[in-house]
């Protein structure tokens, strides 16, 4: 329970940091991340408190919708920061596959009136987003830039995405095979990864956007000297 509270606190801190450093965050990338964070927080609260059960909306359905919305936000973010057209094209094709899988899964759940977690769409979305994140790092290595990679907000967002999805990949994949006790035990992984993700997002909000940074190593060291 303590970890769950801590997860909510981490969400709130991330949102507060966004507004405190609002000057640094007037860009599309940061806006996508904050909208996604707010949506995740609201979704988690609604599911945990079962707020919509009274009007007949099940939490499993909300989770299926969340998977699609989450993927859409993060896919849009990755395609926004990636420059390589081939990688972008690959991501678009993968997205198409993801949406087919996700909607088939919702339809199947609806037809079978099943209440199982959408493990397959989550696994597909995780794989696509992890590949997108690796492609981002690959692109950063390829481009001969003089600014340090960890001085970029996009780097921390991608680190957050990667840590969260690689950390929870096996959890969601095996979730339906776990016993109820194990589900509770292993859900800690999800909360732990969420906290880490929020910390990395917070770091990205604190940093100045890429176009306002020192673009030259000489200037960087000169500024350090001053």
């Amino acid at each position: 329970m303590f970890l769950l509270d801590f997860t909510y606190i981490s969400y709130i801190i991330t949102i507060i940091i966004f507004f405190v450093f609002a000057k640094n965050n007037r860009n599309t990338g940061s806006l996508i991340v904050i909208v996604y964070t707010c949506y995740s927080l609201i979704n988690d609260i609604v599911i945990e408190k079962k707020l919509l059960n009274s009007i007949g909306i099940d939490s499993t359905f909300l989770m299926s919708i969340f998977t699609i919305v989450e993927f859409t936000f993060l896919f849009y973010y990755l395609s926004h920061i990636l420059a390589n057209k081939k990688i972008k094209a690959f991501l678009f094709v993968s997205t198409f596959i993801f949406f087919i899988v996700a909607f088939v899964n919702i339809y199947k759940n609806f037809v079978q009136n099943s209440l199982s977690l959408d493990t397959i769409p989550i696994a597909v979305s995780s794989i696509i987003l992890i590949i997108g994140s690796i492609a981002y790092f690959f692109e950063q290595i390829q481009t001969p830039e003089v600014s340090f990679i960890y001085s970029k907000p996009s780097f921390w967002v991608v680190v957050g995405i990667m840590i969260y999805f690689s950390g929870t990949f096996f959890l969601f994949l095996q979730y339906e095979n776990l016993s109820d006790t194990d589900k509770k035990t292993f859900w800690i992984i999800n909360m732990f990864c969420l906290i880490l993700k929020n910390i990395f997002f917070s770091i990205s909000f604190i940093l100045k956007p890429e176009n306002q940074q020192i673009s030259n190593v000489d200037d960087y060291y000169l500024n350090k000297l001053e």
């Binding site: 690796i134 340090f148 990667m162 690689s166 095996q174 095979n177 016993s179 190593v217």
Partner: protein, 275 residues
């Protein structure tokens, strides 16, 4: 992985989940750490390169300043040691006492003064020509180089010849002067250090490239020697060549002929940049 999902028992599922998560996180963290350290390494390498380039630039600048100073000292010495005494002597012939002398002595003095003034004019012309060869200014690089080679050849010490194959379109005047100075510096080095019995210069073009090649049979240098000397404090003339060619975005290559008999120097320029 999906097969695992179907076939594993409860305990195995927990194991797969535990080790799978640990493995994925370890891989992710490993990748991130690798990216960070790799990028730091690349930046450090770039900085070292930048620093080396700055040092090279500084050396070239120093060489160019020193050469300029040497040139000024040479002109000052020429004017002070040659033109100064000549004009002073002319002034002696034309002193105030001249009016009191007899007519024959007066005429002799005026004649001597005229001779000295003519010598001074010639001296100043020579200095002026060494600063800016009139042939180069009026007739272009080809004529100036031909002129220079004829002078060297007529000295009888060395056999010098040159041939321009494709020089219908002249380079810009300023750039011709720079190329001419580079050729002069190279000839000077060959005459001073190589003990060559001949120098042969050819000019060619290939597409957008403009080439000047010089062959000689003396003791020359290779590209490695050139680069080494460029980085050291020695080789002022070579640094000067390098800095002049940098202005033209040109390159120079020193090599030994395949037959190991001749040394070859090639100057390469972009025609579009310099015409």
């Amino acid at each position: 992985m999906l097969l695992l999902q179907v076939n594993t028992s409860g305990a195995n599922v927990s194991l797969v989940l535990f080790f799978g998560t640990i493995g994925m996180l370890a891989l992710t963290i490993g990748l991130i750490v690798f990216i960070i350290f790799h990028q730091r390494k690349v930046i450090r390498y770039q900085m070292t390169l930048q620093k080396m380039e700055q040092e090279q630039q500084k050396m070239l600048l120093n060489a160019s300043i020193r050469l300029q100073e040497e040139e000024r000292q040479r002109i000052a010495a020429d004017l002070h040691d040659d033109a100064g005494p000549l004009l002073a002597t002319a002034r002696l012939y034309l002193n105030e006492n001249l009016v009191n002398l007899d007519k024959t002595t007066q005429l002799q003095s005026i004649y001597n003064a005229k001779q000295i003034i003519d010598d001074t004019i010639q001296l100043i012309r020579n200095i002026s020509h060494s600063l800016m060869p009139p042939t180069l200014k009026n007739f272009g690089l080809e004529s100036a180089v031909n002129d220079q080679f004829q002078k060297i050849s007529s000295s009888g010490i060395i056999n010098a010849s040159c041939r321009f194959h494709d020089y219908k379109e002249r380079l810009q005047t300023d750039n011709e002067l720079i190329v001419f100075r580079v050729i002069q510096e190279l000839i000077n080095n060959i005459l001073k250090h190589s003990n060559a019995s001949f120098i042969h210069l050819t000019q060619n073009t290939n597409g957008n490239k403009f080439y000047i090649r010089m062959h000689h049979d003396g003791k020359g240098i290779t590209q490695a020697d050139f680069e080494r000397m460029n980085k050291s404090a020695a080789g002022l003339g070579l640094k000067n060549i390098q800095s002049r060619l940098k202005v033209l975005h040109g390159r120079i290559f020193f090599e030994k002929d395949a037959s190991q008999t001749y040394y070859k120097v090639t100057i390469e320029l972009n025609r579009e940049d310099n015409q």
